[in-house]
Amino acid sequence: MLKGIKVRAAIAIVVCLAGLFFLTPSLTADLPDVWKKYLPADKIRLGLDLQGGTHLVLEVDTEKAVESTIERMSNEIKETLMTNKVRFLYVEGTKKTGTISFELPDSASKMAFEKVLKDNYPDLETVSSEIRGGKEVVVLKIKNKRAEEIKKMVVEQSLETIRNRIDQFGITEPEIIPEHNDRIVIQLPGIKDTERAKNLIGKTALLEFKLVNEEHSVENALKGIVPEGSSIVYESRLDRQTGRRITTPLLLKNKTLLTGGYLESAQVKIGDRFAEPYVAIKFNAQGAKEFDRITGENVKKRLAIVLDGTVHSAPVIQERISGGDAQITGSFTLDEAKDLAIVLRAGALPAPVNILEERTVGPSLGQDSIDKGLWSAILGGILVAVFMVVYYKLSGIVADIALFMNIAIILGALAAFKATLTLPGIAGIVLIIGMSVDANVLIFERVREELRAGKTPRAAIETGYSKAFMTIFDTNVNALIASLFLFGFGTGPVKGFAVTLSIGIIASLFTAVFVTRIVFDYFIWYRKITSVSV
């Protein structure tokens, strides 16, 4: 048994030192360099509620992505049918049900139609096929399996694009995690301008080049006579004199000539005339060739640059532009131009995103929470420690040592496991301070009982520990069950609470039972004490 005590003491010391080892970097920043070399570099990570920052939950509108795929496909089918000389009447592509309907004059063209489908569009399936008023009506939709694939791909692409944008924006240690099927959780520590960050992340950034329909007047279109293949899009411009935003309606042809997908780079430049920032874009080889052709074919016509459904500018093409360089002007501030360049470089989001949840904490509130949390923990700790000594005398001091070790182990474990300390997490530590002495209370009360029953100190401590242990074990397992469910349920701060609580429960089992026993055994076996101060 004597040997046993040394081994046990060694284990206790090693665990405690390990806790301090991981904890030291968090306690102080100015350590000697020699130390820094051997100590871990990681501090305890503070949650966004403590260090300030923004937590966003985005939802990728995957349905939209499927819808636009259907829309694109129906356009393609129309073209293929025309080249194959199949007679048909396009009925409609309903976005709501995600189906496309075609009307065919006779069974011969229906057979031709089906052959075209089978050869070119394996992802489509027939929902219904019937004869209505002597005409064949076929309704098509995307196969479920394919639709799921599209959705999955869209989320993956969105994740990648957002990660790219945030990286280029330069936020330290962002966290971008997919959640459920179509959600993306983003954590941006220490960010100050949330609105700008949200704009940067959430902008679809679909850049399109479209021709202005100059054969028809906008006025007529506004009255409701919109020519087929065109639609009204608004141009938004900042008036330099009044500082107000003015919107002008333009009639644009629907056909997209070129998209931002062909960009090679986008950079902020400052204009010569008004020292106004603009974004210089450069197309890649394929894009440059297309741009060269488009500008060559449409000299003296107006080409609109549309970003997310808003026209930024619609200059007249003066001459054919070779080389693939273009500018996007539109009275930006410098920050706006910078962010636009970033989103253009990172690429467009394949589907729109919605913000489901936002939690932002300013840095001063975070600091305030840290101060108040620490102060509560210290005060609570001192009160409990004093109480234990008053109530249990020397044994109380042993329990206090265990309590102190417990806190060191919890904090060390948080640093080592790279867990996050949140404000509820600090509350969890305060709670653990109150609860972890419970194990010692159980043991000491039992020891007192045994002593009263006339047992020797040695026997009293032995039975006290062994009898109390089962109870302590059962209660701790139950507390763990509760905190595991808490962990599964929680988001951010609540998860932090569950983590500290779980670590604290396990650590208190170790310190309050294992460590205190060593001290008692030492005094009984080595010092041969004849009474216990409890």
Partner: protein
């Protein structure tokens, strides 16, 4: 030092029926309040927008409300926090990138100027997330009950498990009921507090049951009610001490922890007090009643 004299023998079991009456009345009041008045759900569950703002110059709640009405927020609740801070709450939220919180900020900017205030905290929860969270919270609580039921049933007996769980359900109803009666905001962290209370209350109950188990083994002839009473008395000292230390730290949190966890600490405070009470006065009678029911059916069979 001893708070509870050794050899204390209070007749708990004899007075259990008063406790049961008290608890039943209290539980019914709480349930009625929950059903009738409902809970003051925070934006975590109800969805909505919360903006906490620190003003460098004074700004009255009425003025802020008027400004918000102009941008279409007509249901705002403006709660002062200390001398220079306010919390603005509205049930509205927006999934757009330039959300409602930005619009609130912009309109205050226009009214007071950019340097007059500082945004301390923004929380926006869409209705979809709120629904998800409500479901998750209920699931977490119910599953933790089931988990404990199973564990105690394995370690002890099924009747103990039932007694413990009834005690915990009692505690949860009372804490939620008090939040309903006093219209205290019910948020995500309160659910965390509830789960902690569940853990704590069961913890207390197990200590008593553990003693019962030990005493039953010691003298098999004694009847359960007197063993129960003996065990409650034997563990009374520890029950009071532990609750006392936990109440100390939770009270410190309540007073000094700051606005963000004020309600959380309050829930814990109420929960710890009732958790301690229920482990003596609710869990025990349920086990005894179960025992009585079983023995009476046994007699009938004979």
């Amino acid at each position: 030092m001893e708070l509870v004299k050794p050899g204390i023998n209070i007749n708990f079991v004899g007075r259990l029926k008063y406790a049961v009456i008290f608890s039943v009345v209290l539980t019914v009041i709480c349930l009625i309040s929950i059903a009738w008045k409902g809970l003051n759900y925070g934006i975590d569950f109800a969805g909505g927008t919360l903006v906490q703002i620190k003003f460098h110059k004074g700004a009255s709640a009425d003025d802020i409300r008027k400004i918000l009405v102009q941008i279409g927020i007509d249901d705002s609740v403006i709660q002062p926090l200390g001398t220079d801070e306010v919390i603005i709450r509205t049930a509205k939220s927006s999934s757009e990138i330039k959300g409602l919180s930005n619009k609130i900020e912009d309109s205050l900017n226009a009214a007071y100027g950019k340097d007059a205030f500082q945004v301390q905290r923004i929380e926006v929860v869409g209705p979809k997330v709120g629904k998800d969270l409500t479901q998750k919270a209920i699931m977490a609580i119910i599953f933790s009950w089931i988990g404990m039921l199973i564990y105690i049933a394995i370690r002890f007996e099924f009747r103990h498990a039932v007694g413990g769980i009834v005690g915990v359900i009692h505690d949860v109803i009372i804490v939620v009921g008090i939040f309903s009666i006093f219209s205290i905001e019910f948020t995500l962290t309160i659910v965390a507090a509830l789960l902690t209370i569940i853990g704590y209350s069961i913890h207390d109950t197990i200590v008593v049951f553990d003693r019962v188990r030990e005493n039953v083994r010691k003298n098999l002839k004694k009847d359960l009610p007197s063993i129960m009473n003996e065990s409650i008395n034997q563990t009374l000292s520890r029950t009071i001490l532990t609750s006392f230390t936990v109440v100390i730290v939770v009270a410190v949190l309540y007073v000094f922890g700051g606005a963000v966890i004020h309600d959380f600490a309050f829930a814990l405070l109420v929960g710890v007090i009732f958790g301690t009470y229920s482990s003596v006065f609710i869990a025990a009678p349920v086990v005894l009643a179960w025992e009585g029911y079983q023995s009476s059916t046994l007699k009938k069979k004979k």
